[in-house]
């Protein structure tokens, strides 16, 4: 069967008889899919002619649930959305809620939110790059990437008590202030992580097997990236110089000095490099934020009847007790305008936004999540056409598709 009958796009020429093609099922339970993705591949020998992704193996009705939980309760569900970087989801969710309510959070809260969002970006990229390494045969690399995550978990645990599903944010603030121990741990991680990054780069950046398996594989052009709705590292690796932290600065990102990391090749290797570079930039942001961490409260206080008062205040003052009751009572709760708002953040994976419809009650009438993974996984058939079967895992890993965010 002549390979030249395959067009440069990877599609078969129309007049080619296609009976010899065979179909292979990939997933939903497969080591390289990490979670629950399913692909039906149409193969010509080992060459992938077409791929049909089948999703929904983790569809748990997040958006329906959002209509039945109030604005503070739903943050626990956003933890489980992109579970590799829960803090980034917490921040995105409460930013949308606060934008709808018109609340401006105090500077210390903004800085702490930036710190946790950037730390979770690092932990997300560590998993993603580690998994790309694992799938292309570098198991040691995966362990190198996974080890510093434990230190990040320790920080999150010191901040909010939970190691993994954090729910750190609340409407108008945070669950609690960062303790001096937590800040000391963050400083320590800032000192230690560059060494880890150096190790990782030395292990893989010029590793011949890895470079051969990722360079030139799954190329996404800039026009396609825009037309198909790619965002985050995937778009930046294709030359789209767009980063919401720079273009639409939210929280206090305008205060920090950092670079937007881009590449032009648009292949798996470029996506890997962009993620590696972004981790260093994130660390720069965290370092600046921790040095300039403003003093003051981490929550807007009880004046707008929007944020929960601290527990000490609830137990010792009448204002605190009343506010606590009023925020939690189902017939009082938050004061939300009957309006619709879209708020987007630069999550580790790309643009994570929430489209919120408020109806005056303390629950969202509709809370649509704009998941970056969903649009990235839709790119997959386009990226894999014409490549070999073994490239499937490399492309899949470099897109960093998180099933819970994909299906919700």
């Amino acid at each position: 069967m002549p390979l030249e009958r395959i067009l440069p796009s990877g599609d078969l020429a129309q007049d080619e008889p296609q009976e010899y093609l065979w179909t292979m099922n990939f997933g939903p339970q497969h080591p390289a899919t990490h979670t629950t993705l399913r692909l039906v591949l149409k193969l010509d020998g080992e060459r992938v002619v077409d791929a049909m992704p089948d999703i929904g193996y983790l569809h748990s009705g997040f958006e329906k649930l959002a209509e039945h939980l109030d604005y503070n309760q739903y943050v626990t569900v956003t933890d489980r959305m992109n579970y590799v970087s829960p803090m980034a989801n917490n921040v995105a969710w409460h930013m949308a809620v606060e934008k709808l309510m018109g609340i401006e959070v105090p500077p210390r809260c903004q800085y702490l939110r930036v710190i946790v969002a950037e730390l979770s970006r690092i932990s997300d990229h560590l998993v993603c790059n580690g998994a790309v390494g694992l799938d292309t045969g570098a198991f040691t690399y995966f362990l190198y990437a996974f080890n510093p995550r434990e230190k990040l978990y320790d920080i999150f645990e010191a901040l909010c008590g939970a190691r993994f599903t954090n729910s750190y944010t609340r409407v108008g603030g945070l669950t609690g202030d960062a303790s001096p121990e937590a800040i000391a741990m963050i400083r320590e991680v800032i000192r230690e992580l560059p060494k880890t990054f150096g190790d990782m780069e030395r292990l893989l950046d010029r590793n011949k097997i890895f470079v051969d398996r990722t360079k030139g594989i799954g190329v996404l052009t800039k026009e396609e990236a825009i037309n198909r709705g790619a965002s985050g590292p995937v778009a930046r690796a294709s030359g789209v110089t767009r980063d919401l932290r720079k273009d639409e600065p939210y929280l206090s990102y305008a205060d920090f000095d950092f670079q937007v990391c881009c590449a032009t090749a648009g292949d798996c290797y470029a996506r890997y490099l962009v993620r590696m570079a972004e981790m260093r930039e994130s660390l720069k942001i965290v370092a600046q934020a921790i040095e300039n961490l403003p003093e003051g409260p981490v929550s807007i206080g009880i004046r707008d009847r929007a944020s929960l008062p601290p527990k000490g205040m609830v137990y010792s003052t009448i204002e605190g007790l009343i506010t606590h009751f009023e925020v939690l009572m189902t017939n009082r709760g938050f004061e939300v305008p009957c309006e619709e708002i879209y708020s987007a953040t630069e999550a580790p994976n790309g643009e994570l936004g929430f489209y919120l419809v408020g109806d005056g009650s303390s629950r969202a009438y509709r809370a649509r999540c704009r998941p970056p993974s969903f649009l990235h996984f839709a790119l997959f058939p386009h990226l894999i056409r014409g490549h070999m079967l073994s490239d499937v895992v490399a492309v899949l890993g470099s897109l960093n598709v998180i099933a819970a965010e994909l299906d919700r």
């Binding site: 939903p28 983790l58 579970y83 996974f146 993994f164």
Partner: protein, 173 residues
């Protein structure tokens, strides 16, 4: 007259010896669907190091495994896959339901999430937590090892006892 035994000879029951072998070489099949899957990976990674308990050989083929770890919520579309994998595993086999979602549905009391996998497949050990810490999963494996040692038999008769025939909540209700 007592028989003199040298120190390096141990007398035991064959059942117990087989169980001892089995419990110390569990091969888990990670059915990791969601958040708990990341903690499952963390359990296998350097700090917690599941290899200390002889259960580090993760195999993604059900034919090679004897311990199914269901980590994460199982939804309508996924349940037939889970049942198929359970059926493909060879006896003797055990199942750990890791986390609140796999055990009860957790916070996801919604239209598409199965409210506990034990409604549809047998479960030996439940791990609470959302998600459980790696230490909890390790404890569950230790408990399962004790259970295998306690009631294991060479021909798997423990699985055919009447009370083990009621695996699911659906049947018990």
């Amino acid at each position: 007259m007592a028989l003199e035994l040298p120190d390096n000879v141990v007398i035991t029951k064959l059942d117990e010896m087989v169980s001892w072998c089995r419990k110390n070489s569990l091969w888990p099949m990670p059915f990791a669907t969601a958040c708990c899957g990341i903690e499952l990976m963390a359990t296998g990674a350097s700090r917690h190091d599941l290899a200390r308990f002889g259960a580090e050989v993760f195999r993604f083929s059900p034919r090679q495994c004897d311990l199914l770890i269901v980590a994460g919520r199982v939804v309508m579309k996924m349940l037939p896959v889970l049942q198929r994998i359970w059926q493909q595993m060879h006896e003797p086999k055990w199942c750990i339901s890791m986390g609140a979602c796999a055990s009860t549905g957790g916070v996801f009391d919604t239209y598409s999430v199965v409210q506990g996998i034990d409604r549809f497949i047998p479960v030996d050990m439940y791990v609470p937590g959302c998600p459980p810490r790696p230490e909890q999963l390790i404890q569950a494996i230790i408990d399962l090892q004790a259970k295998i040692q306690r009631e294991g038999t060479m021909y798997g008769r423990e699985f055919t006892r009447p009370e083990r025939q009621l695996p699911s909540r659906a049947l018990r209700q």
